[in-house]
C-alpha cells in the first residue's frame, strides 16, 4: 500500500513537473499579435491573412496548444532564448537542443521564407504561425534561460498573499497585470503609443542586436521582482514598473514581428 502511495505521489510530481510554461500567456500573445497586425503594410496584411485565413491573434497561442503533441513536439523548445555563462546570447546550442532557441528558429524561418512564393501554402502558413508565437516568446523576460552555474541567484519564487508563486507565471501574465477584462484593442489603444522614430529604433539592427537588447532588459525583471516579493502587496510604483517592462517588451515583440512580416510579404 505504502509503495502504491509513493508511486502515485511520484506520478503526480512528475506530471506537475511537465506542466508547460505558456510564455506571455494568452492575453500577452494575442495583444502582441494584434499590435503587430496594426503595423503591417496593406500588402503584408493581405498576404498574411490570405495564408492564415484568420487574423494574427487567432493563432497567437497555437504553438502553446500544440507544442508537446506530435507532430509538433520538436517545437517544444522554440519558446525561449539562452544566455551563456557570461550572460551573452548563445547561438551555438548543440546536441538534442540544437534547434532549441526561438531566435535561431526565427532566423531560420525568415531565411526560408525568402522563397515563400515557391513553397506549399501549408508550409508558408505554418511558418507564419511559428513566427507570430516565437518572436513574442523570445521577448518575454522569463523566457531567457540563464545557466545555473553563473546565475543561481535567478532561481527563486515570488509570493502571492504570502504563498509561494512562480516567477515565470507572474511575468508570463504581466501584460494583463491589474488590467482585468482588457481586450486586445484596448491594450493597443492604451499601450501602443510609439512614434515612428521610436518604432524604427526598435526594429533596427540584426538578430544579434535584438538578442543583446532582450538579454539586457531581462535582468530588469529580476530587479523589479526580487525573491519573495509579494505580488499581491506591491505599491502603485512597483506595479507601474512591472507594467512598464512588460509593455516595453511586448511592444518590441510586436514591432519586430511586424517588421519581419513586412519584409517577407510586403516586398513587391
Amino acid at each position: 500500500m505504502k509503495r502504491k502511495i509513493v508511486t502515485l505521489l511520484l506520478v503526480v510530481v512528475a506530471t506537475l513537473g511537465v506542466q508547460r510554461a505558456m510564455a506571455w500567456a494568452a492575453f500577452g500573445h494575442g495583444a502582441i499579435a494584434y499590435v503587430a497586425e496594426q503595423h503591417l503594410t496593406p500588402e503584408a496584411k493581405s498576404e498574411v491573412r490570405r495564408y492564415l485565413n484568420h487574423t494574427l491573434p487567432f493563432y497567437a497561442s497555437w504553438m502553446d496548444h500544440w507544442r508537446a503533441i506530435e507532430p509538433y513536439a520538436h517545437t517544444n523548445m522554440w519558446h525561449g532564448i539562452k544566455s551563456d555563462e557570461k550572460g551573452k546570447l548563445r547561438w551555438d546550442i548543440s546536441g538534442e537542443r540544437a534547434n532549441g532557441q526561438a531566435m535561431i528558429q526565427v532566423k531560420r524561418i525568415v531565411e526560408e521564407m525568402k522563397g515563400y512564393r515557391n513553397m506549399p501554402d501549408s508550409l508558408v502558413r505554418q511558418n507564419v504561425i511559428y513566427l507570430i508565437h516565437s518572436v513574442a516568446d523570445m521577448h518575454c523576460p522569463v523566457h531567457v534561460q540563464f545557466p545555473k552555474t553563473t546565475y543561481p541567484h535567478y532561481r527563486y519564487k515570488l509570493r502571492n498573499k504570502g504563498k509561494p508563486y512562480q516567477m515565470h507565471s507572474f511575468w508570463d501574465a504581466a501584460p494583463a497585470f491589474t488590467r482585468n477584462n482588457w481586450t486586445y484593442e484596448r491594450y493597443a489603444q492604451e499601450v501602443d503609443m510609439l512614434t515612428s522614430k521610436q518604432a524604427k529604433k526598435i526594429q533596427k539592427g540584426s538578430y544579434d542586436v535584438w538578442g543583446k537588447d532582450i538579454l539586457k532588459q531581462t535582468h530588469r525583471a529580476y530587479q523589479i521582482t526580487p525573491a519573495d516579493k509579494d505580488i499581491a502587496r506591491m505599491t502603485v510604483e512597483e506595479r507601474a514598473e512591472v507594467l512598464s517592462l512588460a509593455d516595453e517588451m511586448a511592444m518590441k515583440a510586436a514591432y519586430r514581428l511586424a517588421y519581419i512580416l513586412n519584409n517577407i510579404f510586403g516586398a513587391k
Partner: protein
C-alpha cells in the same frame, strides 16, 4: 395562441437586463449579424432595443435567476427526432420559442412595445443558442444531453522526456471552452476573424428556416459523436481540431440572424 405568446414574453419582461463579459460567443454572433443587416433592419432593431444587439445577446440567461422564469432555461435547447428532423411543438423548445418570437416581430404593429422588445432580444439570443452543438438534443441519443470523457496527450519535452498527461473534459465544457478561448477578443474583432475564414460561405449558410438550421447543426453533432462519446479516451489534438466546427457554427448563426432580421424588417 396569441395569449400564450403574450404570457410567456410578458413574464420574461420583468427580469433585469444582464451584461456578461464572458458572453463573447453570443456577442460575436450579434456582431457578425450587424455587419450584414440592411440599413432599415439595423435602424429598426436599434429603435426597438435602444442599443446595439451585442448588448442584448445574453438577455435570456439573466431570466433564469427568477424562479418564476426557470422555464426559460430550456429555451436554449433544440430537440430533433431520431431522424435528425425538427418536428417538435414543445412550447419551451428553442426552435418553437424562436418561431413564436418571430411571429410577434412580424405582427409588431399590433403588439406592445415591451413585448416586441422581449421578442427581439429572444431572437438575438436563441439563434445563437441553436448553433451551439451542446444545445442540440436528439431523441434516442442520450449522449446529446451531455457526458464526460478524457483527453490525453503523450508529451515530449527534451528535459521531461515522454509523459502521459490526462485531463477530464465534458461535451458541454468542450464547446464552451472554444468560445472562452476568445474572451479577450472584442466581439467586433472576433467577428472579423470568423468572417475571414467563413465569409465566402455566407450565401450558402444563410438559407433555410430555424428548423433547418437546428437540423444542420444536428448533422455536425452526429458526426462529432462518432469520435467523441461517453467515457472516451481521446487524444488532445482531436479536441483542438473541433474548434473549426465551433467557429463555423458561429459564422452560420451570425449570417442566419442577419438574414432573419432582414426578412422581418424589410
Amino acid at each position: 395562441m396569441k395569449k400564450i405568446i403574450a404570457v410567456l414574453f410578458a413574464v420574461a419582461m420583468v427580469a433585469n437586463e444582464a451584461y456578461a463579459f464572458k458572453a463573447i460567443g453570443h456577442q460575436t454572433i450579434a456582431a457578425i449579424a450587424e455587419r450584414h443587416m440592411t440599413e432599415k433592419a439595423k435602424s429598426e432593431v436599434q429603435t426597438i432595443l435602444n442599443a446595439d444587439m451585442t448588448r442584448h445577446a445574453m438577455w435570456l440567461y439573466s431570466l433564469r435567476k427568477n424562479p418564476q422564469l426557470a422555464h426559460t432555461q430550456q429555451w436554449q435547447y433544440a430537440t430533433l427526432n431520431a431522424e435528425g428532423k425538427s418536428v417538435t411543438t414543445y412550447e419551451n423548445d428553442a426552435v418553437v420559442v424562436l418561431e413564436r418570437a418571430v411571429e410577434v416581430l412580424c405582427n409588431r404593429k399590433n403588439e406592445s412595445d415591451s413585448l416586441v422588445q422581449a421578442a427581439l432580444r429572444t431572437v438575438v439570443q436563441v439563434v445563437g443558442d441553436i448553433h451551439n452543438p451542446a444545445n442540440i438534443r436528439i431523441e434516442g441519443n442520450e449522449a446529446t444531453k451531455g457526458f464526460n470523457f478524457t483527453l490525453y496527450a503523450i508529451t515530449k519535452g527534451s528535459s521531461a522526456g515522454e509523459n502521459l498527461v490526462k485531463r477530464k473534459n465534458s461535451w458541454h465544457a468542450m464547446w464552451h471552452n472554444y468560445t472562452n478561448r476568445h474572451d479577450i477578443f472584442s466581439p467586433q474583432y472576433y467577428a472579423s476573424d470568423i468572417e475571414l475564414c467563413y465569409g465566402s460561405k455566407k450565401a450558402e449558410y444563410e438559407k433555410g428556416t430555424p428548423r433547418f438550421w437546428a437540423e444542420n447543426v444536428g448533422e455536425d453533432v452526429v458526426r462529432c459523436l462518432e469520435v467523441i462519446y461517453p467515457d472516451a479516451m481521446l487524444k488532445t489534438e482531436i479536441a483542438h481540431r473541433y474548434e473549426a466546427i465551433h467557429d463555423k457554427c458561429m459564422a452560420k448563426a451570425g449570417y442566419r440572424l442577419a438574414a432573419l432580421l432582414n426578412s422581418i424588417f424589410k
